[in-house]
Every structure is written in structure tokens, then in C-alpha cells.
């Protein structure tokens, strides 16, 4: 079935309607307002929304039923992601429910499943991802953080970086080097580290949006119980790749782009220049048209992959296309917003990013949120494998170059 027809399948439309209605009633208005205004979210905002989803049984809808999920297909999961994003729900922080959870229920021991999965489902445990290091960004296999076995513990030494939301985290799933023999990929293990362990130091990194979501994590003689090793020693790279495979179909972030496009359209209607709205300017009309066409096309590409997944095929490396197209569209949208704001987009009044801020705005009240989004989203072509790496993957794996 064609993706476009699949989307109109009554069962699929009913599911979409369920998610949409749920968001309308269950998404707290204050959280939604912060998201739509581009304001800071506190840990409690994320936790509150994720617990609402947990109570509904949807927080891990894509997990198998035996682990508390709903056995959603990739298509259902995409629709859930799409509708929650459009509704102005917070980013569903993926580190527990999308990353650590599936690796643990797929490769972990029964004891690890019992110990970690409940906290992931309920968001009582906050997770972060310890992958990148100062010397291992695109070349992730070059990680140097070492874990040395000492009795029934590993002693971990090294440094992780770009660790999103580590300042809130209880646990970190980490790629560590347990061997230097053979190919670099073969000596990597997947270790779960308690962030409260002695020797763990989290240091904030302020990003260009003036916000703090990134961190450095220093690991000095951290003693980690050997029970926290997932699967086999030396197989961490395989588990990490498995994890990425799970996520690739969502790489396009169609829901987010849909929301940004609506926001851009509203901005063009709101901003007057020379007595007419920007939306009536032929230049802006065409630029908006182009972004809209790109979004529709991206949706069509996604729908093809989702239809294929629905028919039973497993997405391969060709899905890197979604990351490239999706991230470049997001940057096209936020770039257009900043251009539309023009000189008003140069006033970055960061206190306005805090909910409840009462002082008089300088410039346009909606500008700070858009600027924050624009600055933050320069990262979309960097995180999760830069777009240059994605193009390398496609050249090699799909084109055979």
C-alpha cells in the first residue's frame, strides 16, 4: 500500500485521532505554553508530562507488551511522535525510553530488566547518554574512557562530553573501552553507571542559545558493579548500533517541522513591513511555499519507509536520508523565522525564556523563543551523527562508493 493511502486507513486515522484528542485534554496548558513559546522547561515539566503518558500506557508504547509496552508498529510510533510534537508536547526525552530501555530488554539480564525497566517507564529514573568524548565525536569508535575489571567491579576513568541533561540524570548508559586489542569497535562495552557514584563529576557546558542542556561528565576511578555490564563485554558497539537502528525512522522530526512551519506562517502574518504583512510579500510567499513543499515531500518519503516497515521490512542504512532531509528542513524553517524577524530577531532577551517573566519585552515578545530555537537547532545537523557522516554512510552503504 502506498504511504499516502496507508495514512488514510481508518484504523490509522482512528489511532491518530486518539493521540490528538488525548493531547488536547491531557497535555497541561502551562507546559504546552512554554513549549510553543520556546521557553525553558524544567526537569519537573518533562517528568510531569512523561508520567501522564505513563499513566495512559503510552510512554513506552513502542516496547513489547511483555515489558509494559503496547507493541506499536513503527507507523504508530511515528504518528504518536508526530501528533505529540504538533500539539506542543515537550520533547520526549529519549535516553531512557528509547535508548537504554530497549537495549536492556533486548540484551540485558533478567536482573537488569527487573531493576531498571520500571524506573525508565515511570521516569522515576532519569537517564543520560555517555557516548561522545573530546577525542571521539564523529569517530565514535575512538573512545578512550577505560573500564578495568577489579573483582566484581569495573573501575572507570575518562571523560564524556555533550551529555544532554546529565545535570538531572540518575543513570548514564555509557560506551567504555574494555580492550585495546583488534579493531577499535571490538573493545567497547555497554556499561550502566550510577551518576551518584563517587568520582562522577558533571560540569555544565553553556551552548550558543545561552542555555544549559549539555554537560561534560568526568569519571575518576568510578567503581561500577560488574552487574551493570549489559550483555557481553566487547559487544557494546553492536548494541549501540542496534539502538540507532531503532531510532532512524523518527530521524525526520516531521511533527516538529510541522509545528515550526505553522509558527513561521503566523509570524509572516503578524509582522508588517511597509504597510503589508510579510505573508503578502512575493519573496516570502515563495519562500514559505518552498518550505511547505519540502515538508510535504519529507512526509512522503517518511510514509514510504513507514509503509515498508508496516509491510514487514526492516529499515536499513538508507534511512540516513531522513536525518539529512529532516534536519536541513528544520534549519531552513528556523532560519526563515529569524530572517522574518529581521532586526527584531537581534534582540535576544533571555530572561523572557523563563516562564512567568513579567517585565516589559524589548522588541517582539515572541522573538526570544524563536531565536532560541534557531540557535539550538544549529545542532540538528551535528547530533546523532553529523550530516557529513550521514552522507558518508549513504555513499558507502547505498551507492556503493
Amino acid at each position: 500500500m502506498l504511504g499516502i493511502d496507508l495514512m488514510r486507513d481508518p484504523a490509522i486515522q482512528a489511532f491518530r485521532g486518539d493521540v490528538r484528542r488525548f493531547c488536547e485534554t491531557a497535555l497541561p496548558g502551562d507546559i504546552r505554553a512554554k513549549v510553543l513559546a520556546g521557553q525553558h522547561l524544567e526537569k519537573q515539566d518533562y517528568v510531569r508530562w512523561q508520567k501522564i503518558l505513563f499513566d495512559k500506557g503510552w510512554i513506552v508504547g513502542h516496547w513489547p507488551r511483555q515489558y509494559g509496552g503496547q507493541d506499536w508498529t513503527p507507523l504508530q510510533r511515528a504518528i504518536f511522535d508526530d501528533e505529540t510534537s504538533k500539539a506542543g508536547a515537550p520533547w520526549l526525552t529519549p535516553f531512557g525510553v528509547c535508548y537504554a530501555g530497549p537495549v536492556i530488554y533486548t540484551f540485558g539480564s533478567p536482573a537488569q530488566k527487573d531493576r531498571f525497566l520500571p524506573g525508565i517507564r515511570s521516569t522515576d529514573t532519569w537517564w543520560c547518554q555517555g557516548y561522545s568524548e573530546p577525542g571521539a565525536g564523529s569517530d565514535l569508535a575512538n573512545i578512550k574512557t577505560r573500564a578495568v575489571r577489579d573483582g566484581d567491579h569495573y573501575v572507570v576513568n575518562g571523560q564524556k562530553t555533550w551529555t544532554t541533561m546529565a545535570q538531572w540524570a540518575d543513570m548514564m548508559f555509557t560506551l567504555v573501552r574494555t580492550s585495546s586489542d583488534g579493531k577499535p569497535q571490538n573493545g567497547i562495552s555497554f556499561l550502566l553507571i550510577d551518576m551518584n557514584s563517587p568520582g562522577v563529576t558533571v560540569r555544565p557546558i553553556q551552548s550558543i542559545d545561552k542555555c544549559h542542556h549539555l554537560n561534560e561528565v568526568f569519571l575518576d576511578d568510578v567503581r561500577v558493579p560488574a552487574d551493570n555490564l549489559v550483555g557481553e563485554e566487547g559487544r557494546g558497539w553492536t548494541y549501540a548500533k542496534f539502538l540507532l537502528n531503532n531510532e532512524r525512522l523518527l530521524g525526520a522530526e516531521v511533527g516538529k517541522s510541522t509545528r515550526l512551519l505553522q509558527q513561521l506562517r503566523q509570524t509572516l502574518l503578524d509582522i508588517q513591513n511597509g504597510g503589508q504583512a510579510l505573508a503578502d510579500d512575493p519573496h516570502w510567499r515563495r519562500r514559505l511555499g518552498e518550505l511547505r513543499a519540502r515538508l510535504l515531500a519529507l512526509e512522503a518519503v517518511c510514509n514510504e519507509y513507514l509503509a515498508a516497515a508496516e509491510a514487514g521490512s526492516t529499515p536499513g542504512l538508507e534511512v540516513s536520508a531522513l536525518k539529512i532531509m529532516g534536519s536541513e528542513l528544520i534549519q531552513g524553517l528556523t532560519g526563515a523565522m529569524v530572517d522574518a524577524l529581521a532586526v527584531k530577531g537581534l534582540v535576544y532577551q533571555t530572561p523572557a525564556l523563563d516562564a512567568g517573566w513579567q517585565a516589559a519585552p524589548v522588541g517582539l515578545p515572541q522573538a526570544p523563543g524563536m531565536i532560541r530555537e534557531h540557535l539550538h537547532d544549529r545542532a540538528t545537523t551535528i547530533y546523532g551523527g553529523t550530516n557529513e557522516i550521514q552522507r558518508n554512510i549513504l555513499a558507502k552503504a547505498v551507492l556503493g562508493l
Binding site: 500500500m1 502506498l2 504511504g3 499516502i4 493511502d5 488514510r8 506562517r265 505573508a279 512575493p282 516570502w284 510567499r285 515563495r286 519562500r287 514559505l288 511555499g289 518552498e290 511547505r292 513543499a293 519540502r294 510535504l296 515531500a297 519529507l298 512526509e299 512522503a300 518519503v301 510514509n303 514510504e304 536520508a321 539529512i324 532531509m325 557529513e388 552522507r391 558518508n392 549513504l394 555513499a395 558507502k396 547505498v398 551507492l399 556503493g400 562508493l401
Partner: protein, 373 residues
């Protein structure tokens, strides 16, 4: 509802692609380019015999009852093989106009003839997206007189009948006009991709009331032009697939500085971008075709997006195919330049990217909102 299943369409695509590979090679095509007609009447007869010309013509008229989705399969293969025959004007435009707007007598006279390969028809409307020099129809006793000019009449030299868009009392109307009727003058030339094209002058051309397509109004023409835009997208997708394939092969075989040029990252990333552009154009084109054929309210929106993205992709793939080939890509002997010129034509026909983007950017423009509001 189309009489074709997904499996039928796959078999159709296989059979056309096989024909292109086996019977429509570079030498065959070179001979056609040198011929007076500029296309092959013997291939046209073969297409008829294989049932392709009647693919979107009703079964009661000797066709097989398909629609836009089946035409798109044909057009994609036409792009892939750079076919020179008048598929777009005859099957998509003229047969579409007759099927949707003709009376029983007109349909009975022309649709079986098209399906059997006995008649070539075309449509004269300038371009869907361009400003027009109208042809004016003035009533006379028992008929009309037509006066005016139409540009860009594809395959005008070969047409047995030309369906002309005219202005009649301020409204759009369509008339069947014989190219040999007194007062009709055609000036012939070639398109940039070597296909026959004509300008048409009508000087007091007498037509009967029965030559008018009763359902040939502005809304029919708009639907026809949407379908044609998608047929052009499908042809462009086929041409891009072929151009990308040729270019990729070249990157793997051409050696410079002691390595295949495809080992250079700058070439790899360019090739990936060409491949992504093609993939995107293909996905949105098929989504739009699906929407049109299933009556999805987003059909107009998706069609505009499909033509806009296909046109942008055609530009990128066409230009970069030549660039990555280097000097050899500039030669008339090598195929890539022919793909480039075909893509140039398809990019602009039935609305270049900008025209469709303006429609999309208007947002509240009638018919483009669909379910999205």
C-alpha cells in the same frame, strides 16, 4: 476506480522497462533523432500492440480502463529511456480531454483510434502556467470562427487533430481542429530535448458546433493540467533515476589521481544529494498521484509540492550529472546531455518550481488547504 492492481502496475513497469532496455537503445534513438518525424511511428505501433496507448482509455473505447497511476508508470519509463514518442500530448492531454470532456461521438471517433495507434492528437493551450495569447471563438451560423495564436503545441506536425483551448464569451472552451483546415498555419521547430513542437495560427478557421468538447471547460482543463504536471513529474523521476545511475557508474569507473573519482568525498556527497533529491521527488510524486486517484482532499496541495520538488530535483540532478562527468558530459554523443535537456523541459512544463511554490505559499489559496487548514 482503476482496473489495475499494484501487481498489475509492477508488471506493466517491468514490461515497459524491458522494452526500453532491449529495443530502444542509443543507436535506435539516434536514428529516430535523425528522422523527419522526430519520433518513431513503428515504435508507436508497437506501443499500441502492447496495449500501452490505451492504458488510461476506458474499456468501452478499446482501452484497459486505467488512469493517472498507470500513465505515470508509462511516463517514468519514458523518462528513463528518453522515449521520443508523443505520449504526453496524446495520452495524457488529448485523450484526457476527450475522456473527461468529449461527447459520445467524439470519444467513439478518437479514443479507439488513439488506443490502436491510428491517431496522434495534441492539445494547444500555450503552457498551463504562462500568460496566454488567447484564441477567440466567435459564433457563426452553425458553428464558430477561431482567430488567434497558440504557442508550444507539442508534436503539432504529427497531429491528426489538435484540441485548441479558446475563449468563448469569456469562458474557456475546447475545440477539435484539423491541422489541414483552411486558415490553420503551423510553424515547426524542435524543443530543447529534440522533440517536435509548433506554433499554431488560426485565421478565421471555421469549426462546427459539434467540434466543441461539451465538457471542455476551465475546471476540466485545470484537472488535466494537474494530471499532466504529475505525468511530467513521473517522467522526470524516470530521467533522474537513469541520469543518476549513469553518473554513479561513471564515478565508479573513471580514474584520476590513481583512484576512482567516486572515492573522493566531495563527489560522494554530491552524488548522495542527487540521489536524495530524486528520492524525495519520487516519494512526493507517487503520494500526489495516490491522492489524485483516491480523491484525497490534499491532492491539489500534494500536486503543487510534487511539481515544485521534482522541478528543483531535475535542475540539481541534470546540472550535477554533467558536472560530475566532466568534459565527456558536454558531448552530444554521450547520453547525459540528452537527459539534461529532457529534464530542462520537464522542469518548466506545467509550471516551473516557482509557480507552484507561489501557490503553496499563498496557503489560503482555494484548493490548496486540503485537510491541513
Amino acid at each position: 476506480m482503476s482496473a489495475f492492481t499494484t501487481e498489475d502496475r509492477r508488471l506493466l513497469a517491468d514490461s515497459i522497462n524491458r522494452y526500453v532496455d532491449e529495443a530502444y537503445g542509443p543507436e535506435h534513438r539516434a536514428a529516430i533523432l535523425k528522422s523527419d518525424d522526430g519520433f518513431s511511428r513503428s515504435d508507436w505501433a508497437t506501443y499500441a500492440a502492447l496495449g500501452w496507448l490505451g492504458i488510461a482509455i476506458g474499456e468501452e473505447q478499446g482501452g484497459s480502463g486505467g488512469g493517472l497511476a498507470e500513465l505515470a508508470v508509462l511516463m517514468r519509463a519514458a523518462g528513463r529511456g528518453l522515449l521520443m514518442e508523443p505520449l504526453l500530448p496524446t495520452l495524457v492531454l488529448a485523450a484526457g480531454a476527450l475522456s473527461g470532456g468529449g461527447n459520445a461521438q467524439q470519444q467513439a471517433q478518437w479514443l479507439p483510434a488513439i488506443a490502436e495507434g491510428r491517431a496522434i492528437l495534441t492539445l494547444a493551450q500555450d503552457d498551463a502556467a504562462s500568460d496566454e495569447t488567447p484564441v477567440i471563438a466567435s459564433p457563426t451560423e452553425g458553428g464558430y470562427r477561431l482567430n488567434g495564436r497558440r504557442g508550444f503545441v507539442l508534436y503539432g506536425a504529427a497531429a491528426d487533430q489538435i484540441i485548441v483551448k479558446v475563449e468563448l464569451a469569456g469562458q474557456v472552451a475546447l475545440f477539435l481542429v484539423s491541422p489541414t483546415a483552411p486558415g490553420v498555419t503551423l510553424a515547426h521547430a524542435s524543443t530543447v530535448d529534440d522533440r517536435p513542437v509548433s506554433d499554431l495560427w488560426l485565421d478565421d478557421v471555421a469549426v462546427a458546433a459539434t467540434d466543441r468538447l461539451p465538457g471542455g471547460d476551465a475546471s476540466l482543463l485545470a484537472n488535466l493540467n494537474e494530471a499532466a504536471a504529475l505525468a511530467v513529474c513521473a517522467e522526470a523521476v524516470g530521467a533522474m533515476e537513469a541520469a543518476n545511475r549513469l553518473t554513479l557508474d561513471y564515478l565508479k569507473t573513471r580514474t584520476q589521481f590513481g583512484s576512482s573519482i567516486g572515492s573522493f568525498q566531495v563527489m560522494q556527497h554530491r552524488m548522495v544529494d542527487m540521489s536524495l533529491a530524486m528520492q524525495e521527488a519520487s516519494a512526493i510524486t507517487w503520494a500526489a498521484i495516490g491522492a489524485v486517484t483516491s480523491g484525497n482532499p490534499d491532492a491539489a496541495l500534494l500536486t503543487a509540492a510534487a511539481k515544485a520538488r521534482s522541478s528543483a530535483a531535475a535542475r540539481l540532478v541534470g546540472e550535477q550529472s554533467i558536472q560530475l562527468h566532466g568534459g565527456i558530459g558536454m558531448t552530444e554523443e554521450y547520453a547525459i546531455g540528452h537527459y539534461y535537456r529532457r529534464l530542462m523541459l520537464l522542469e518548466t512544463l506545467f509550471g516551473a518550481a516557482g509557480w507552484h511554490l507561489d501557490r503553496l505559499g499563498g496557503w489560503t489559496a482555494a484548493g490548496l488547504d486540503g485537510e491541513r487548514g
